[in-house]
Symmetry: C2
Subunit: 330 residues, 2 copies
């Protein structure tokens, strides 16, 4: 009987755990009817809210800020869903901002989040806001993208981009491709330069030099993928494969190839860092891709935040190693 949890109260009352937290912490709006149902269930089950959970509430606003470069990217939204699934049990809500890969705007939005007194921030950085992050005064967990700050260590959950991009490139080389068109994200962002670095390492292993004519400089947006295809197909010597370094650019690549009547992989092989769900619509598909694990990454981020809000001090830095999925082998 001592192990009654908030989930039992939720089951008994038919009210969400987040609302129950609000009732028990007397914070935020809950309708009178819901309140009555929660209190009846608490009484019936003789539920004792746990002391750690209660101590978290002092001086807290129960909100976590999520600052990302592209709020429409399903990768970030799957991560956010997992964070929410982890923290909502403790009564936290997420608020989001999107800086569209604009570093000046990222700086502004971090300040907005501080002004809104969020309890913690999850940040996928453009890589140019070290000073603002260093002066935060609240926990910041870096997501997907690294940042170096001299004075302090930060929690992060990232991927081994070099390793995964190396593997993806090597897959193309093993298939015999020597003219590989690369669609880069911003090289100022850790995921951008690390993925390009992985590509260069694989090329070196095959004693091939990076060919700058085959590198298109994008910025992680769908439109960059479309423009990269425009560019590659305008070359006299066209690539036989396109290697795109994030999911939204890859979607642009695939869309533009299809608009021009190219079949994938017969007419052009496509390799993507990140899954493109819509690629399942292709006839006899397939693209080669690095399978990311956004939901699992988000669960980890959520746990780190809860750990931090409980004032624990140990820094947690987690690196996921995504796997290559081999579709489209010929």
């Amino acid at each position: 009987m001592g192990n009654i949890t908030i989930k039992d109260v939720a089951k008994e009352s038919g009210v969400s755990t987040a609302s129950i937290s609000r009732v028990l912490n007397e914070s935020g709006y809950v309708s009178n009817e819901t309140k009555a149902r929660v209190l009846a269930a608490v009484k019936k089950l003789n539920y004792q809210p746990n002391a750690i959970a209660r101590s978290l509430k002092q001086d807290k606003t129960n909100t976590i800020g999520v600052v990302v470069p592209d709020i429409a990217n399903p990768y970030f939204m799957k991560i956010a869903k997992a964070i929410e699934d982890t923290v909502s049990n403790s009564g936290y809500n997420l608020i989001f901002c999107s800086f569209d890969e604009d570093s000046e705007k990222e700086r502004e939005l971090l300040t907005v989040m501080y002004e809104k007194r969020v309890d913690a921030i999850v940040l996928a950085t453009s890589g140019e806001s070290e000073d603002i992050v260093a002066s935060a005064g609240i926990p910041i967990v870096l997501l997907d993208r690294k940042m170096e700050i001299e004075s302090q260590q930060l929690d992060y959950v990232i991927e081994d981009n070099i390793q995964a991009a190396y593997g993806l490139t090597k897959t193309l080389l093993e298939q015999g491709h020597r003219q590989i068109g690369v669609v880069n994200g911003s090289l100022k962002v850790s995921t951008g330069w690390e993925r390009y670095e992985g590509y260069k390492q694989a090329m070196q292993e095959y004693r091939l030099k990076e060919d700058l004519q085959f590198a298109y400089q994008g910025n992680f947006a769908q439109q960059d993928g479309c423009l990269a295809v425009d560019y590659f197909l305008s070359l006299d010597k066209k690539p036989t494969a396109i290697l795109s370094f994030n999911n939204t650019m890859s979607f642009g690549v695939i869309l533009e190839l299809r608009r021009r009547g190219y079949n994938i992989p017969e007419d052009m092989v496509v390799a993507s860092y990140g899954e493109v769900e819509a690629a399942q619509l292709l006839d006899n598909p397939q693209i080669i891709y690095v399978k990311q694990e956004p939901y699992e990454m988000g669960l980890k981020v959520g746990k780190i935040i809860m750990h931090r809000l409980q004032k624990r001090k140990k820094i947690i830095q987690e690196t996921f190693i995504p796997q290559i999925h081999l579709y489209g082998s010929r």
Copy 2:
């Protein structure tokens, strides 16, 4: 020379208009170097910030809350982009919350937004938060979905859902379809019941009755579209066309049909309320769809917010009439 605007200052200084606003209003973070560049440009051009813009800043937090049911839906994100393009010139930033079509969570998130002291809210409601909306104390603009409140009129920007869904259904009837599988959104939400109403009106015109066996009750999510296909294909008498009442459910319908090897439109005709960009990947595609205008709707919402923040009193209610796009005629 009297017509120098903030955009001229942006051009001269190479700094975004949002940051210039922050400098001039002494609100939020701007680096010293940026500040110096802005002030030099202001001096050089003899720029006089406009009085209305300055009056807006008193007691303001320069943030607008956007509360939507599904932050990953490109429809809402295109609207948000347009709102941002409209209000960022005046120094406003957007913060987002997503309630996943859960009305209790919508109520919580509206309260979070009030606590964060946003200056105005844009809300795509689940339809069950009238009391919270009525007590807001700040401007609320309804987006996409209506809500009736006895005591007050609200600004809104919506679509004529009945008219558009009627047209979409009639297109299928004119093509000879009599067994039409309908994928509904929640009938508690205005867009859900209005679209179903449009379908029923077209059926009545053809002296056909709604067949409840052919109505699948979803809730606007991709997964609902997949499950609807599961259901329709399990029937002895299968539909010849599937009519799906939002873009994300339609994407689920198309994905699931392709996974099962169905060609569209040869094996199954698909009609969608809302555009599915990925449908361009289909071989010899096509789906019939209601073309929404999210960007234009967002521009309108942005203008209404600015109007409201300037304390103007006139209520603005705008209804867009989306057009039917006829792909897949046979």
